[in-house]
C-alpha cells in the first residue's frame, strides 16, 4: 500500500517539475506573442488615435481600407516587391550555394565574402544603393553614360517602374546570401554516394541537379522561402531609406504605409489594421508548410 502512494508522490512531483520547466516558455509565448497579437487585433477594431482613448468600431478600419486607393496601391506594391524579390533571391541563392559547393580555391573566403550583404546593417545597404541609383552622380548612371550606353541620366528612383526595380534590387542584394547559406547547408546534407551512383549511371550535371539536388533541398527551400516571404513582406528599412515610398506612392508598401498612418497621421487603429491585412495570408502559408513538414516527418 505504501509503494503506490510513494510512486504517486514521485509522479506528481515530476509533473510539477515538468510544469516548472515549461513555465518560462509559456510565459514567453503568452507575454511576447499572444498578448501583443491579441492587443494588436483589438486596436485594429478600435478608432484608436494617438493620445486619445480608443472606442470599439468593429471592422470599420478594415472596411475603410477596402475603399482607400492608396491602400490598394500599397497592397499591389507589396505583392510585387515581395514576390519579385523572393523569386530572384531563390535563384541567386541557389547559384551561390552551387558555386560555393564546387569552389576549389578560397572556399572559406568566398563564403565569407558572399555573406557580406547579409551581415551589414540594412540602413547602410539602403544608403549605398541610394547613392548608386542617384541620377546625376550615382555609380550606375555615371558608368552607363561613361561607356556611352545612355546619353541622358536615368531617373532610377524618380520613375515608378525603375524605383520599384531599384528597391527590389537592393532587397535582393541584401537577402540572397540567406538562401545561399541555407541551401549550401542543405546540399552538404545530401549523401555523396547518390551523386556518385548517378554519375556512374551517366547522369548529366543538369540531371543530377534536377533529380538529386533539388528534391534533396525541398524542405530547406520551402522553409527558407517562407521565412524570406515574411521578412520581405515586412521590410521597412530599404524602402524607407531609398524612396520613402515614393515617387508619389510608387513604392509604398505595407510597412511604410503602416508607419505613415500610425506615426504621422496618428491613426493607430487604422495603422494596425493595415498591418493585420496580410496576417491571414501568412498564417495560411505557415499552416501549409507546417503540415507539409509534419507529413514529411
Amino acid at each position: 500500500m505504501t509503494k503506490p502512494s510513494a510512486w504517486r508522490r514521485v509522479l506528481v512531483a515530476d509533473a510539477l517539475v515538468g510544469y516548472l520547466f515549461v513555465l518560462p516558455l509559456i510565459v514567453l509565448v503568452l507575454g511576447l506573442v499572444a498578448y501583443p497579437l491579441g492587443n494588436a487585433v483589438w486596436i485594429s477594431l478600435t478608432d484608436k488615435y494617438v493620445g486619445y482613448a480608443s472606442r470599439f468600431v468593429g471592422l470599420a478600419n478594415y472596411v475603410t481600407l477596402t475603399r482607400d486607393p492608396i491602400f490598394h496601391k500599397v497592397v499591389w506594391n507589396s505583392a510585387v516587391f515581395t514576390l519579385a524579390s523572393v523569386a530572384v533571391k531563390v535563384v541567386l541563392g541557389m547559384l551561390m550555394a552551387l558555386a560555393l559547393q564546387r569552389a576549389l580555391v578560397a572556399r572559406s573566403f568566398l563564403r565569407a565574402a558572399l555573406l557580406v550583404p547579409w551581415v551589414i546593417p540594412t540602413v547602410i545597404t539602403a544608403l549605398t544603393w541610394h547613392w548608386m541609383f542617384n541620377a546625376l552622380w550615382g555609380f550606375i548612371n555615371v558608368t552607363l553614360q561613361g561607356v556611352g550606353l545612355v546619353r541622358e541620366p536615368i531617373a532610377w528612383l524618380g520613375q515608378p517602374a525603375t524605383a520599384m526595380a531599384a528597391v527590389i534590387t537592393a532587397n535582393i542584394w541584401r537577402g540572397f546570401p540567406f538562401f545561399g547559406v541555407c541551401l549550401l547547408a542543405g546540399m552538404q546534407a545530401i549523401p555523396r554516394d547518390l551523386y556518385e551512383a548517378a554519375a556512374v549511371d551517366g547522369a548529366s550535371p543538369a540531371q543530377r541537379f534536377w533529380h538529386i539536388t533539388l528534391p534533396g533541398l525541398r524542405l530547406v527551400l520551402l522553409v527558407t522561402t517562407l521565412i524570406s516571404l515574411i521578412f520581405t513582406l515586412n521590410d521597412f528599412n530599404i524602402v524607407y531609406v531609398l524612396t520613402r515610398g515614393g515617387p508619389g506612392t510608387a513604392t509604398h508598401v505595407l510597412a511604410t504605409y503602416t508607419y505613415e498612418v500610425g506615426f504621422q497621421a496618428l491613426r493607430w487603429g487604422k495603422a494596425v489594421a493595415v498591418s493585420m491585412y496580410p496576417l491571414p495570408v501568412i498564417a495560411v502559408m505557415i499552416v501549409i508548410v507546417t503540415r507539409y513538414l509534419t507529413r514529411e516527418d
Partner: protein, 436 residues
Amino acid sequence: MTLLARGLSIVLAALLLLAGAGSPALAQPAQKPKIRVWLLRTYVPDANHALEDSIKRWATSKNLDPVIEYFTFDDIETKYVAAIETNALPDVGQLQTIGPARYRGMGRLLDLTDLANELVRVNGPMLESALPVVRAPDGRFHAVPFNYITDMQFIRTDLFRKAGAKVPTTWEEVREAARLIKAKGVMEYPLGQSWNRSADGYGVFQALLYSHGGGWADEQGNYTSIMNDTWRAVVRWASEIYLKDKTVPPDAMSWTGFGNNEAFLTGKIAFTFNGPSIYYVLEKERRPILKDTLMAIKPAGPAGRNHDVLLLSWTVFSSSKQVDAAKDLIRFVMSTDEAKKYMQQSWGQMVPAFERLRQDPYWQKNESYRAVLEAPKYARTPGWPGPLTAAAAEVVATHVLTDLCARVIVDGWDIEKALEEADKRIKDIYANVPSR
C-alpha cells in the same frame, strides 16, 4: 533525472529569490533629481552644443541632473507619439510647428501663458507669425517660441549671371530663370525642387499655394474644397517645371530631405528652396561656392508673399513631476543672454521670434543673413488662413499636398483627377480628426 531536475529547479528558485531580495540591499548613492529634456538635433552641431551647455549650467545651479535626449527632423513625431502612448514623455521638450496644435488637444501640454507673457516682457513682442503656432484659439499658450528655422531660396549667383537671369521675386520668375539657365546651356537641370515626402516638398508647396491665395481651410479652420482655379494654377506650376520646362533633375521626385542639399553643394543645380543648412555647410567648410551663393526670401505670388514655417517651440508636458523646474529651464534658455549665445552659435540658422533678440547686430552680417531674419515675417501655418489645427497638421503630415503633385508628375494623372483625390483625402481628415 527526477532528482537532477528537482535539484536544478531548487537552485533556480533560490537564485531568483536571491536576485529579487538582493537588489534593495545594495546601497545606492544619493542621486540628484532628474529632469528630462528632449531637443531637436539640428544640422548645426555648434548650436546643439551651445544649447546643451546652457541646459547643463542651469541644471548645475539648481542641483538637478539633466537627461538630454535628441530627435531629428525625421523622427520628431515618431518619438513623441511613442512617448505619449507609453506615458514616457519628458519634462520639457521642443516641438515643431504642428506639435502644439496636435498635442494640446490631447491634454498633454501645460498652460504656459504666464511664462509666455514673462518672455515677452524680457525679449519684446513675438512675431505675429509665431502666434498661430504657440497660441491656441482660446488665447492660451501651451508652448513658447524658441526659434524659426526658415526656408530660403538658394541662388548660385555666378550661374544666374552667366545666363543673364535675375534673382526671382515671384514664382513665375522662378520658372523663367530656370528656363533661361537651361536655354543658355549653363545647366541642364537648374531647379532643385522636389515634391517629395519631406519638408522640402510639402513646405515649398504650401509657400506656393499660400502665395497664390489658396488653402484647404477657411478662416475658422473648417475644411473648404480645393476644387478651384487657384489650386489648378498651383498644381500646374508644380507639375510643369517637370513635365513642360524639364528644368528639374530627373530623379528629384525621389529625393529625401537631403537630396537638394547634396545637389546644391555639389554644384549640380543652380537654385533650390531649403532651410539655411546649406549655407551653414558652405560657411563652416569655407567652400569655394560660398561667395557665389545667395540666400533670398522666397518668391511672392498673386496673393503676396506667404511662406510655410518651421517654428521650434518649448513646452512642458502635463505628466512632468518637475513643473516649476521645467518652466525655470525655459525661462533660463530664453533669457536674453542665453538666447543670444545660442543664436550666435547657430551660423545664421536660428531666427528668434522675439523682437528684441531680432534686433541684434548679428543678423546684419550680410545680405543672406538679413534675408533669413526677414523671412519669418511672411510665415503662414498649415491650414492658413484658418488656425493651425490637428486636422491641418495631419494634411501636411500625411503628404496629401505632395502626393497630389506626384499623381500628376509621376502617375500621369490629369490635374482635375489628382485634385479630386486630394480633396477627398482632406475632407476625410477633417471629418475624422477626434475632437474628444
